[in-house]
Amino acid sequence: NAGVTQTPKFRVLKTGQSMTLLCAQDMNHEYMYWYRQDPGMGLRLIHYSVGEGTTAKGEVPDGYNVSRLKKQNFLLGLESAAPSQTSVYFCASSFRGISMEGDTQYFGPGTRLTVL
């Protein structure tokens, strides 16, 4: 049981390049999320999904796209990378929406992305 895994762990891009970050979970969770964390900041929600085939915008969605073609995978795409997208990206999953005691999100180890 690997939990939440993220690929790749590190990546360096040049401005204007594109890339896709892959998140996979083996807990059969319905909900999946992408966050970014910048220095001195908390995690901020980029996009999320409440089930296979669904996606929704979070707090900071601009410049990113996502897809959830399979329940266990959630992809985050950068079509034209910018230096402002230099960050650590975390994927998370949960069985359902977080609303009551016992609910929590499970996080992957993160992807450190640098855009030059």
């Binding site: 995690l43 929600l45 999320y48 929704a56 707090e59 977080i98 609910d103 999100q105």
Partner: protein
């Protein structure tokens, strides 16, 4: 507009003593709160949570207190151990209409021997 605030970027505590980490929130709709612990180069891991119907929740060395009238919660760790050195995030579901979590900026707890 920060809806979850952790105003202490860092906190240093001696091993064996009590660590108290604070969190304030502005959104009255928040009714469930979570604390996450994060080590460098790892993802956050869930530590403890509290529902707004309670004012205290305890799990071993960790206790979270909630004061709804003050919109304030605190995480107590006693006794503090070296392995507790990490960044601690306070979080709440919602905020901005999305189904994710709204996080504070975190407090870096340093346990000194």
């Amino acid at each position: 507009d920060q809806q979850v605030k952790q105003n202490s970027p860092s906190l240093s505590v001696q091993e064996g003593r009590i660590s108290i980490l604070n969190c304030d929130y502005t959104n009255s709709m928040f009714d469930y709160f979570l604390w996450y612990k994060k080590y460098p180069a790892e993802g956050p891991t869930f530590l403890i949570s509290i529902s707004s119907i309670k004012d205290k929740n305890e799990d071993g060395r960790f206790t979270v207190f909630l004061n709804k009238s003050a919109k304030h919660l605190s995480l107590h760790i006693v006794p503090s151990q070296p392995g507790d050195s990490a960044v601690y995030f306070c979080a709440a579901p919602g905020g901005g209409g999305a189904d994710g979590l709204t996080f504070g900026k975190g407090t870096h707890l340093i346990i000194q021997p």
